[in-house]
C-alpha cells in the first residue's frame, strides 16, 4: 500500500497507543500475569500460523491472533474471579505478543506487517475502551448483569468494532487507489461477514469461556478458528493454482495460433478494470476475469483457425457458434456456471447479455481492433469503431467506461492478472 496521509494517520495513532501502553505497563507492572501470559501466547501462536504471502488488504491474515486480542480486551472474569487489567495493558500485551509472533516472519525476510499491526492495535483499543471502564466500574453489571444480556451487549460492541475495523481498512485503501469509498467499504464489510464474524464470535466466546472455565478455555475454544485458518490457507493455495491453470487453458488458444499472444490476459485485465469502474463486486469481478480469460476457448474446436483470431470482424452467426462451443468447454472446467454463460453469450447483441458479457464483448472487440494492423489509428480509431456499434452490439455505457479507463492510463493502471 502506498504511504498516503491516511495511512500515516493510522500508523501514527497506533504508534502513540503502543508507546503509551508499553510505558504504562512497564511502569506499573502487569496485573494478573497468568492471564496476560496465556492470552499473549495465544496471540503469538495466531501470528506464527499466519502465512508469509502478502494477503490482499482488508482480509484478516491472522484470525486467531485477532480473536485472542479481542477476547483479552473483553475479559471481565477469570474462572469466576474479577480481573483488573486496564486498556493500556491490553494494548501492550496485544502488541508485544504480535511482535513476538512476527519475529520468524521478519527473519525470513518479510517486512513487518505494519498496517496489519496498526489496525489490530486500534481495533483492540477501541473494544477495550468501550468495555473495560464500564465493566471495572461495576456499572455494566448493574445494568445487564452476568447473564445472557451480557452476551448481547458484547456482540453489539464487537459489531461496532468490526465496523471500525472496516473503516480503518477502507480509508487508506481508498486514498491509495483512488477508488470510490462506498464500494470499498461495502467490500470490506462483506469480507468481514465470513471470517470476521467467526473472529468476533470466537472473541466473545473465549472471554466468556475464560470466565466460566478459567484459562483452559483458551486452547479448547481456539480449535475451530485454527481449523478455519488452515482451511483458508488451503483455499488460497488452491485458488492460486486454479487461476494459473485457467490462464494456461486460456493460453492454449494463443499457442494454437488462434489468437495473438497475450490477447486473453489483456482482455481479462482490461475487463476487470472496466468492471471495477462500473462498480461490480469482488465476486462478479472474479467471474468476469475467468470469463474474459476463457472467452476465445471455443476457437480450439475449429478445424481451421480464424484469421488473426479476431472474432470481432466475423459475421454474427459464426461468432455466436464459436461462443457456444466455448461455453461448452467452459462448462467442463468447474468454473462457476455464470462464467460459462458469459462465454456463451459474448457474441449476442448487448441488450440480451448479462453485464459481464457486455464488458467482455466490448473489451475483446477493442483489443482485436487495436491489435490488428487494420487500424493504424490505434486506440482512438478502435474506440470510434466501437461507438459506431453501440446501436446493436456494444452497450454505450460500457464503451464510455472503457474510454475513461483508457484515458486514465489504460493498461498500465489496471490490476494485473498474475502472469501465467
Amino acid at each position: 500500500m502506498r504511504a498516503t496521509p491516511a495511512v500515516w494517520t493510522v500508523r501514527g495513532a497506533a504508534a502513540v497507543l503502543t508507546v503509551a501502553g508499553l510505558a504504562h505497563t512497564l511502569w506499573n507492572g502487569v496485573a494478573e500475569p497468568g492471564a496476560a501470559l496465556a492470552f499473549g501466547a495465544l496471540i503469538t501462536i495466531g501470528e506464527l500460523a499466519r502465512r508469509d504471502r502478502q494477503d490482499p488488504p482488508g482480509r484478516h491474515p491472522a484470525p486467531l491472533g485477532s480473536a485472542g486480542a479481542l477476547a483479552y480486551a473483553l475479559l471481565g472474569q477469570n474462572a469466576g474471579q474479577p480481573t483488573h487489567h486496564g486498556v493500556l495493558q491490553i494494548v501492550a500485551v496485544a502488541v508485544a505478543a504480535a511482535l513476538a509472533g512476527m519475529v520468524p516472519h521478519i527473519a525470513r525476510g518479510r517486512g513487518p506487517a505494519v498496517d496489519h499491526l496498526s489496525r489490530r492495535v486500534l481495533t483492540v483499543a477501541f473494544a477495550a475502551v468501550c468495555f473495560q471502564p464500564l465493566y471495572n466500574s461495576g456499572r455494566l453489571e448493574e445494568r445487564v448483569g452476568q447473564g445472557p444480556y451480557l452476551v448481547v451487549f458484547l456482540l453489539l460492541l464487537l459489531g461496532l468494532t468490526a465496523l471500525c475495523d472496516a473503516v480503518l481498512a477502507a480509508a487508506p485503501a481508498g486514498a491509495a487507489t483512488g477508488r470510490p469509498y462506498g464500494p470499498l467499504l461495502r467490500d470490506e464489510l462483506r469480507a468481514q461477514l465470513g471470517i470476521g464474524s467467526a473472529i468476533c464470535a470466537t472473541g466473545v466466546v473465549m472471554a466468556l469461556g475464560a470466565a466460566v472455565a478459567g484459562l483452559w478455555a483458551l486452547p479448547v475454544f481456539s480449535v475451530p478458528l485454527l481449523l478455519t485458518q488452515l482451511s483458508f490457507h488451503r483455499i488460497t493455495a488452491i485458488r492460486t493454482t486454479y487461476r494459473q491453470t485457467i490462464t494456461s487453458l486460456a493460453r492454449a488458444t494463443e499457442i494454437a495460433g488462434c489468437t495473438r499472444p497475450g490477447h486473453s490476459r489483456r482482455v481479462a485485465a482490461l475487463s476487470c478494470a472496466v468492471g471495477r469502474e462500473l462498480g461490480l463486486s469482488e465476486r462478479e469481478l472474479t467471474v468476469l476475469e475467468y470469463a474474459a480469460l476463457m472467452h476465445d476457448i471455443g476457437q480450439l474446436s475449429l478445424v481451421d483457425p480464424v484469421p488473426d483470431g479476431a472474432t470481432a470482424g466475423l459475421p454474427g452467426a459464426e461468432a455466436r457458434r464459436i461462443a457456444e462451443l466455448g461455453g461448452e468447454v467452459a462448462r467442463q472446467t468447474g468454473v462457476p456456471a455464470e462464467v460459462a454463460v458469459v462465454v456463451e453469450r459474448q457474441a449476442d447483441p448487448y441488450r440480451d447479455q448479462p453485464t459481464s458479457a457486455r464488458i467482455v464483448r466490448t473489451v475483446n472487440a477493442y483489443d482485436d481492433l487495436v491489435g490488428g494492423s487494420r487500424h493504424p489509428g490505434g486506440s482512438l480509431a478502435a474506440l470510434e469503431r466501437l461507438r459506431l456499434g453501440t446501436g446493436h452490439d456494444y452497450q454505450p455505457e460500457v464503451v464510455e467506461c472503457l474510454a475513461r479507463v483508457l484515458a486514465r492510463g489504460g493498461r498500465d493502471r489496471v490490476v494485473p492478472v498474475p502472469p501465467g
Partner: protein
C-alpha cells in the same frame, strides 16, 4: 444402490428397531427436559436446512456433511435417550445425494440416534455430567460450579470416539450388505477418515455444552456454533474448489480430445499407467500425484498443432512430422505458469526423448532425461500400442509388453519397463476411462502368453464406458461429492 438386497433391508430394519429402543425411554420418562431437547433438535434441523436457503453472495457448498456439534452437545447435556431424540429430525432432513432418498434418510436418522445413545452412555459412565459444572441457568447468583476443566475433556473425547465408532461400524455394515463391498475394505479407511472430524465436532459440542450450562446460557452456546459452522463450510469449500481445479485439468485434456479424436481417453490412461509404474518404483504419494498429472497432461501441447494435421489419415510428410514433433515444447510453454506442476513440466517437455538419444526435442540420453519423463514415455508407448489409432489396430497387452521389453535400453529405460511389466503382472490392466468406442481399447488382464491370440474386445463389466469427451460436469461433481464426507 439400485435394488436393495434383502440382507440390507433386514439390516436397516434392525437399526431402526434399535434406534427406537434407544429413543423410547425419553418418551416415557417424565424427567426428560423437553425444552432443551426441542431447542437442540430445532438447532440441528436448522443447521441442516441452512443449505437449502439462498444466502447473499454465496451458497453452502455441497458435501458439507452432517453438522454434528449440536448432536454431541445434546449428548453432553441430556440423558442418552433424549440425546438420541435430538439427532432424529436433523439426520432425517440431511442432504441425500443418491437414491433411494427415503431409505437413506431413515437410515441416517436411525444410525445417528443409536450413536448418540451409545455416546451418552459412555459419557455417563465416566461421570461426565457432573464434570460439566454449572447448573440450570435459572439462578441469578454466581455459577454453582465451574467446569472441571482438564478432566471433562476425557469423557467428552471418549463419547466422541464412541459416537464415531458406532457410526463407522453401522456404515461399514450397510456398505458390505447393500453395495456388496467385501467386509474388510468396507471398514478400512472409514474409521481413520472420520475419527478426527468427529473429535473436533465433539470438542465444539463440549464448548457448546459448557456455555449452555454457564450463566450466559443459550446465546453464548449459539456463538460457539458460528465459528465451527464457518470452519466446516470452508472445509467443504476447499474440497469443492479442489474438485473444480481437477475439472479444469480435465478440460485441458478435453480440449486436446476435441482436436485429436483418435486419442480420446489416451491421456487419462497414460496418467493411470504412469502412476502404476511410479508406485512400483516406490515413489512417495505426493510424487505419485505429480506423475499422474504429468501423464494426463503430457500431450497438452497438441493444442498448438493444427487440427488438420492431427486428424490426417495416411502418412505424414517430413515437414508435417516436424510440426507435430513441436508438441512437447508447446505443452511445456503452455503449462509454464502452473506452479504446482513442478517436476511434471519437465516430464511434459521430455516425454518423447529416447534413452539412446534419438528422441526429441533435445535428444537427451540416459540419465539426462528426467525420471518422470522416462516414466511417462513408457506409459505413453504402452497405451499407444494397446489402443487403436488411425495408423494401427490395438494390440493385446502381453504383445505390447513384449514390444516394450524389446525396445528397453534403446528407447525406454529398462527399469521403467520392468516396473510396468511387474505392476501389470500383479494387478492386470484396467483402464479407468474407456474410450468412446469401447472396441478401441482392450481391457485385458495380464493374460498368460498363449492368450494373446484371442484378445477380449468389450467393455469392462463393472465400468461402463465413460468417454472423456462426453463427461459434461459429472467429473467435477463426482469429486466434490466423494471428498466431502470427511467434514
Amino acid at each position: 444402490m439400485r435394488a436393495l438386497p434383502p440382507g440390507a433391508r433386514a439390516y436397516i430394519l434392525c437399526a431402526v428397531l434399535v434406534a427406537a429402543a434407544c429413543v423410547t425411554p425419553a418418551l416415557t420418562d417424565s424427567g426428560t427436559p423437553w425444552a432443551a431437547v426441542a431447542v437442540l433438535a430445532v438447532l440441528y434441523l436448522g443447521c441442516e436446512l441452512l443449505r437449502f436457503c439462498p444466502l447473499p453472495g454465496s451458497r453452502v457448498p455441497e458435501g458439507i456433511g452432517s453438522f454434528l456439534p449440536v448432536v454431541l452437545a445434546g449428548v453432553f447435556l441430556l440423558p442418552p435417550a433424549a440425546a438420541a431424540l435430538v439427532a432424529l429430525p436433523g439426520a432425517f432432513a440431511g442432504t441425500v445425494v443418491q437414491r433411494p432418498a427415503g431409505v437413506r434418510r431413515v437410515w441416517h436418522a436411525a444410525q445417528q440416534a443409536t450413536a448418540a445413545w451409545v455416546a451418552g452412555q459412555a459419557y455417563g459412565l465416566l461421570r461426565g455430567p457432573a464434570a460439566l459444572g454449572g447448573g440450570p441457568a435459572a439462578g441469578s447468583g454466581p455459577p454453582a460450579a465451574l467446569a472441571d476443566f482438564p478432566y471433562v475433556l476425557l469423557p467428552a473425547a471418549v463419547a466422541a470416539v464412541a459416537f464415531s465408532l458406532v457410526l463407522t461400524a453401522l456404515d461399514g455394515g450397510i456398505l458390505a450388505l447393500a453395495e456388496r463391498r467385501p467386509a474388510a475394505t468396507a471398514w478400512s479407511g472409514l474409521a481413520t477418515r472420520s475419527l478426527a472430524p468427529h473429535c473436533v465436532h465433539g470438542l465444539a459440542g463440549l464448548m457448546m455444552a459448557v456455555m449452555w450450562r454457564s450463566p450466559y446460557g443459550l446465546p453464548a452456546a449459539l456463538l460457539v456454533l458460528l465459528p465451527m459452522y464457518i470452519s466446516c463450510w470452508l472445509f467443504a469449500q476447499y474440497h469443492r474448489e479442489r474438485g473444480a481445479h481437477r475439472a479444469t485439468i480435465r478440460a485441458l485434456v478435453h480440449a486436446v480430445d476435441i482436436k485429436d479424436r483418435y486419442t480420446r481417453g489416451h491421456s487419462e490412461r497414460v496418467g493411470q499407467a504412469s502412476t502404476m509404474i511410479a508406485r512400483e518404483l516406490g515413489m512417495t504419494e505426493d510424487r505419485l500425484e505429480t506423475v499422474r498429472i504429468a501423464g494426463i497432461l503430457h500431450d497438452v501441447g497438441k493444442l498448438g498443432v493444427p487440427t488438420r494435421l492431427l486428424r490426417k489419415d495416411g502418412p505424414l510428410t517430413p515437414q508435417e512430422r516436424r510440426i507435430i514433433e513441436l508438441h512437447p515444447e508447446y505443452g511445456h510453454e503452455m503449462v509454464r505458469g502452473i506452479g504446482f506442476l513442478g517436476e511434471a513440466r519437465s516430464a511434459i517437455l521430455h516425454h518423447h526423448e529416447k534413452v539412446d538419444g534419438s528422441g526429441y526435442p533435445y535428444g537427451l540420453t540416459g540419465e539426462q532425461i528426467p525420471v518422470l519423463a522416462r516414466v511417462v514415455a513408457v506409459a505413453d508407448a504402452f497405451d499407444a500400442m494397446t489402443s487403436t489409432r488411425s495408423y494401427s489396430r490395438a494390440r493385446p497387452v502381453p504383445v505390447a509388453l513384449a514390444e516394450l521389453e524389446r525396445c528397453a535400453g534403446a528407447h525406454f529405460d529398462p527399469a521403467m519397463v520392468r516396473a510396468l511389466v511387474e505392476a501389470i503382472g500383479r494387478t492386470g490392466w484396467h483402464p479407468v476411462v474407456t474410450s468412446d468406442e469401447d472396441l478401441q481399447v482392450i481391457p485385458a488382464r495380464a493374460a498368460p502368453a498363449g492368450d494373446e491370440a484371442t484378445p477380449e474386445p468389450g467393455p469392462e463389466p463393472e465400468r461402463p464406458g465413460v468417454p472423456v469427451g462426453r463427461t459434461r460436469q459429472g467429473a467435477g461433481r463426482r469429486d466434490a461429492d466423494g471428498t466431502g464426507a470427511g467434514a
